[in-house]
């Protein structure tokens, strides 16, 4: 079986690419898939920290590409012994240490053995972006509901299409439902109409995500994390399952939970 290589990118920094990569990788592995996550943010590696694997790094992506070690030696298995492996970025090198062709060849090799290869793309649209994008067959764009992030996402979608990656999917991260409700933040429809791409996930702003990242345990392991639950649903969608998009709820109170249970369709709040 041939695996799928998906790049997770955004243009703007700090919107949650790395967090999304860690969570989607973990969620896909929890669904029983074999997954490799590759950190291509050479020089500014983070994915290892978010996944809590920082201390286990011996070899990195550049070592593999330069032939200093075997591929398997650089692959660090997840703490929970899931079929999830991390190839960390080199911290002491820069983006020019690898070429798009080299990463492409690496991913092609991994595709033979794994179901999913997730590439965590660095911010920006320079060499690091080009490296990350070259190897991918699909793309997921992460954005937050802020004009700056959306502008950058728009630029990146254009670049992806120019390099042959069509139909990128969009994750809208850090949605503050109460702000959307007040009209102080863009909602799904606003972002969707601006970017004109398919939304694959709505992730609520959730303090627990930060706490999880600091502990090095992706939020999908946390049963009480709303963001973790959102990433689990996104993983299911990536897997081809039909899961309806769930707008983050402004009031996760008793009434709403009851309403969800009973299955009454509440009035969707408007973004106007």
């Amino acid at each position: 079986m041939k695996g799928r290589t998906i790049v997770i990118t955004s243009g703007k920094g700090g919107v949650g690419k790395t967090t999304a990569t860690a969570n989607l990788g973990t969620a896909l592995a929890m669904r029983g898939h074999s997954v490799v996550v590759i950190d291509t943010d050479i020089g500014l590696r983070n994915l290892d920290v978010i996944m809590g694997l920082e201390n286990r790094i011996v070899y990195d992506l550049v070592n593999v590409i330069e032939g200093k070690c075997r591929l398997r030696q650089a692959m660090i298995q997840d703490k929970n012994r899931l079929e999830l492996y991390l190839i960390p970025a080199a911290q002491t090198r820069d983006k020019d240490s690898i070429t798009p062709e080299q990463l492409k060849a690496l991913c092609a090799e991994l595709e033979n053995d794994f179901d999913f290869i997730l590439i965590d793309c660095p911010a920006g649209i320079e060499q690091g972006f080009k490296n990350a994008v070259a190897a991918a067959g699909e793309a997921i764009i992460v954005t937050t509901p802020e004009v700056s992030a959306i502008r950058d996402a728009d630029r990146v979608i254009g670049l992806l299409e120019a390099s042959g990656l069509h139909r990128p999917k969009l994750i809208i991260n850090r949605i503050a439902a109460d702000m959307v409700k007040r009209g102080d933040m863009m909602g799904q429809e606003d972002v969707e109409s601006l970017l004109a791409v398919e939304v694959i996930g709505l992730v609520p702003a959730d303090e627990r995500t930060v706490a999880a990242a600091n502990r090095g345990i992706p939020a999908v392991h946390d049963g009480r994390s709303t963001a973790g639950a959102a990433f689990t649903r996104i993983a299911a969608r990536i897997d081809g399952e039909e899961v309806p998009l769930k707008e983050p709820d402004a009031r996760p109170g008793m009434f709403n939970r009851l309403r969800d249970m009973v299955g009454i369709k509440g009035r969707a709040y408007s973004h106007a």
Binding site: R4, C107, E161, A162, L194
Partner: protein, 300 residues
């Protein structure tokens, strides 16, 4: 450096070289314009000559180009699938440049494969990692020429020209899909965008610009200096407008008009921007249409 957008346009040559000086004109002209490189392929030269010339011009220059997708404007030439493949091959082998799309200035399969347009036609079964082939494109054979619904008349009407109008320009370029931040679309004629023009993008046309969507990027209609050109969009929300030699800035977002519209929450309405007495005016399109189609020039 980013992706190189290449616009190779035959009409550029027509505009820049006196007629009949063509004999000296090489079949392939490479010109730098800022960060862009334009390849102009002589539309009258036989294709094998063009191919040969292209081949030799590109050889040894491959280091000059950053790798990326480019678009080729074939001018009035209409390429067959084989001919396109040949040009594609030369660029691929000699320069590392990949042709993202072919556009034609006149013959009419004017079709830009941007945004959704491309998405709609993208091969769903494309293998991961394979980014070689551009999406299927429409060629002349199966495209509906705009002239079928008398684009000439329409264009004349829309540009306020009488039937013996003195302006000559290429026919309309139709872009299907969103023009995204960082993208520039330039056309020596009228430009029609079936989608949004997003912030951070630029659309330039020697003629009119018609956007069947929201215009938030920077438009320049009448870019060659035509003050009779107009910008029409379902919504004009551009920070600046340029028509011919005039430029206008959008009112500040805190202005009374903007505030009123926010409060009223009225849906945006089709809008036209044009020049009158040297100044750019922005008005609802509805009331202007009759005047526009009657060919009453705005200027003067």
């Amino acid at each position: 450096m980013g992706w190189v957008v290449v616009i190779a346009d035959s009409s550029m040559v027509v505009a820049e070289s006196p007629p009949k000086a063509d004999k000296q004109q090489p079949a392939v002209l490479i010109k730098g314009r800022g960060t862009e490189v334009a390849f102009t392929l002589d539309e009258n030269a036989p294709l094998d000559e063009v191919a040969q010339e292209l081949d030799s011009q590109l050889a040894g220059k491959s280091m000059l180009f950053s790798k990326g997708g480019i678009s080729i404007n074939t001018g009035n030439r209409c390429l067959s699938a084989d001919e396109e493949e040949e040009i594609r091959r030369i660029f691929r082998e000699k320069s590392g440049l990949k042709i993202a799309r072919f556009v034609s200035a006149a013959g009419m399969p004017v079709e830009e494969q941007l945004g959704q347009g491309a998405m709609l036609q993208a091969d769903e079964n494309a293998k991961p990692g394979v980014v070689e082939e551009p999406p299927a494109r429409r060629t002349r054979q199966n495209a509906t020429p705009l002239s079928d619904f008398s684009s000439a008349d329409l264009a004349r009407a829309l540009s306020g020209l009488s039937s013996q109008g003195q302006r000559t320009r290429d026919r309309a370029l139709v872009v299907r899909g969103t023009i995204r931040s960082g993208e520039t679309v330039e056309h020596h004629g009228d430009l029609v965008v079936l989608g949004d023009v997003n912030p951070g993008s630029e659309v330039l046309a020697d003629g009119d610009i018609v956007v069947m969507g929201s215009l938030k990027g920077l438009p320049h209609a009448g870019a060659a200096g035509d003050n009779k050109a107009a910008v029409i969009a379902l919504e004009i929300a551009a920070p600046r407008l340029r028509i011919g030699g005039a430029e206008a800035h959008a009112p500040a977002s805190g202005s009374a008009g903007a505030r009123r519209r926010r409060q009223d929450n009225t849906a945006p309405q089709p809008t036209i921007a044009y020049i009158r007495q040297g100044k750019i005016h922005v008005s609802p399109f509805a009331g202007r249409f009759a005047r526009y189609t009657k060919g009453v020039p705005y200027e003067g």
